[in-house]
């Protein structure tokens, strides 16, 4: 093989490898983030909120209430009726609680859910178990409940306590809440809570909360505010809807939206991130594409040179009976081969590079079990191979047509 041809192939190798590596980095970023997101907080849980805009409307409309827009117990029942919904629970929050563990004070908030459907919700305990439907005073701890924040200068540091949440399983903890009464005096209420389990990381509020029964949380809330909650008129601030599997998420979401509630789901975030990553890939792929474009110019140049050099040969072939298409196909095949070989070598090199990138990134970032910065999908490999062959083919077309149209007699006379 001619040195010139080898250089041209190297050009294609660099072009193909840069496309693959660039896109693989986009892929890797997407993969690690989506993996993380779908790992935390179940993809099959939707967060439903009262539609804030419709609430505003009713307020301005002079107290005219729109039943549909209020997230009360009727609405919870309606949500439950939607196809694909497994469980619905209202969420009642309480903040400002304090617990003392091992003579350390921890500020906590409670997240009250319906224990009657707790079994059907996708909450997974890493240790211990979920409370039963009637264990009103039992709770599950979020995994970071005992983590306190300390502020050192500019950075926030997470400091895990000596006591792990798991250590508290089976024990009673005492939570205190405070309120200021009408006379400006501080009143304190204590509540005993029995820890039955620790929740797996969800990535949501649960991690820093204590999961409790919403009846209990409602009672504590009423004591703290000194007012009776009017759920029927004002609704819950939030409800959690658990659906069968991820395939029904979009259908359920639109049905809930039709009920004039606001819905958040991990699926929506993943969907919108998908388009962001697609743009990122196009951008990175485009940068790689520039390298392949340069390689393409290289192929055209090499083929043109080769045709100049082989003009006489082309003339001879035409005289002894090569047709126009014979000559054309011969040169197109040659340039396609350059593209294909370059593509193949480029793929091998980028596979090696991808492993190296992940290895080196792993050294710097650390983290358990390998880091995915660059992720090469089989589709990407097939695409790269196809694309490099196509680039070779297209680059060869013009020189090949030029070669095929040489006059045989002029060509044979040239030296």
């Amino acid at each position: 093989m001619k040195f010139r041809t080898i250089l041209t192939i190297i050009g294609v190798v660099i072009g193909t490898a840069s496309i693959i590596v660039m896109v693989s980095i986009g892929n890797g970023a997407q993969k690690s983030i989506t993996d993380e997101l779908s790992g935390i907080g179940s993809v099959t849980t939707l967060q439903v909120y009262q539609d804030l805009s419709s609430m505003g409307m009713t307020a301005m409309g002079g107290g005219k209430t729109d039943d549909k827009a209020i997230l009360n117990d009727d609405a919870i029942k309606d949500l439950k009726k939607i196809d694909g919904v497994v469980a619905v629970t209202p969420v009642v929050n309480l903040s400002g609680g304090e617990i003392e563990v091992d003579r350390e004070q921890y500020g906590v908030s409670l997240m009250g859910v319906d224990y009657a459907v707790l079994e059907d919700m996708r909450y997974v305990t890493t240790s211990g178990k979920k409370p039963g439907a009637n264990d009103e005073n039992s709770v599950i701890l979020g995994k970071d409940v005992l983590t306190s924040f300390t502020y050192t200068g500019a950075s926030t540091q997470l400091e895990a306590s000596a006591v792990k949440p798991e250590d508290l399983i089976g024990q009673n903890i005492t939570m205190t809440i405070k309120r200021t009464n009408a006379n400006g005096e501080e009143e304190i209420k204590t509540q005993k809570l029995k820890v039955t389990g620790v929740l797996e990381a969800t990535g949501g509020n649960e991690d820093y909360s204590i999961i409790a029964d919403y009846h209990l949380v409602t009672d504590l809330n009423e004591w703290q505010t000194g007012r009776k909650a009017n759920v029927k008129k004002q609704g819950y601030s939030q409800a959690l809807v658990t659906v069968e599997d991820s395939s029904v998420v979009n259908d359920v979401t639109s049905e809930v939206e039709a009920m004039k509630f606001t819905v958040f789901s991990m699926q929506q975030i993943l969907d919108s991130m998908g388009s962001v990553f697609q743009m990122l890939q196009i951008l990175l792929g485009g940068i790689g594409g520039v390298a392949l474009l340069v390689a393409c110019i290289g192929i055209v140049n090499t083929m043109t040179m080769s045709i100049y050099e082989r003009t006489k040969e082309i003339g001879i072939m035409k005289v002894i009976g090569a047709s126009i298409s014979d000559i054309r196909n011969m040169f197109i095949a040659e340039s396609t081969m350059i593209g294909l070989i370059g593509g193949l070598v480029g793929i091998v090199i980028s596979l090696v590079l991808s492993v190296l990138i992940n290895l080196i990134a792993g050294l710097f970032i650390g983290g358990e079990g390998g880091v995915t910065i660059s992720y090469i999908t089989p589709g990407l490999v097939v695409f790269a191979l196809f694309f490099s062959a196509l680039v070779g083919l297209l680059s060869g077309v013009r020189p090949a047509i030029k070669a095929a149209n040489l006059s045989s007699l002029d060509a044979i006379r040239s030296e």
């Binding site: 001879i316 005289v319 009976g321 007699l409």
Partner: protein, 219 residues
Amino acid sequence: MHKDFKLGKEDIHILKGIDLDIEQGEMVALLGPSGSGKSTFLNVLGGLVPPTSGDIMIRDYRISDMTENELCLFRREHLGFIFQSYNLISTMTAMENVALALTFAGVKKEIRQQRAQEALEVVGLVDRMGHKPSELSGGQQQRVSIARALVNHPEIILADEPTGNLDSKTSADIMEMITRLNREEKQTFVIVTHDPDTTKYCTKVIHMCDGLIEAEVNQ
């Protein structure tokens, strides 16, 4: 038949009305001074350049009306060419050069090699079939190019000064071989030559001068 060439804006008249019949199996010598248009005539005959006016008929085929692609197919099946400068492909062996003509005709590889070998046998070069042109003498190279012209079993072989670069002994060998082929295979030869010795092998001698046929002698 006429042939003009454009030189700048001017048309120069090279072949000025040639009217010639060649019978199958004839061995024709084209003789004439340099610049008289012998090569041009041969090239028009082989469809390598189109005539400006007039017709060329080979059997029932009207060469002068064929498209470039039709000419390629026609050459592949009916015509063989031999050049003064051999025109072998330098990167290919003798065998590959001969077999190349069959490649374009779509002949299978084994048959290609077998027939190329047969053609090289005819010209007495089987023992050199693995050699590149640069490893062969002028006479041997010319014999490879003759083998290439023969391999398709064409009815007509057009040769432009086939012995032009060879010494008299080798020229005689080549001409004897061509005569043998002409006699055995009934192939028609049209041979352009400067060498009066060559003409004694031919059945017909045509003298050209200044783009016209001056004399036509049957031997």
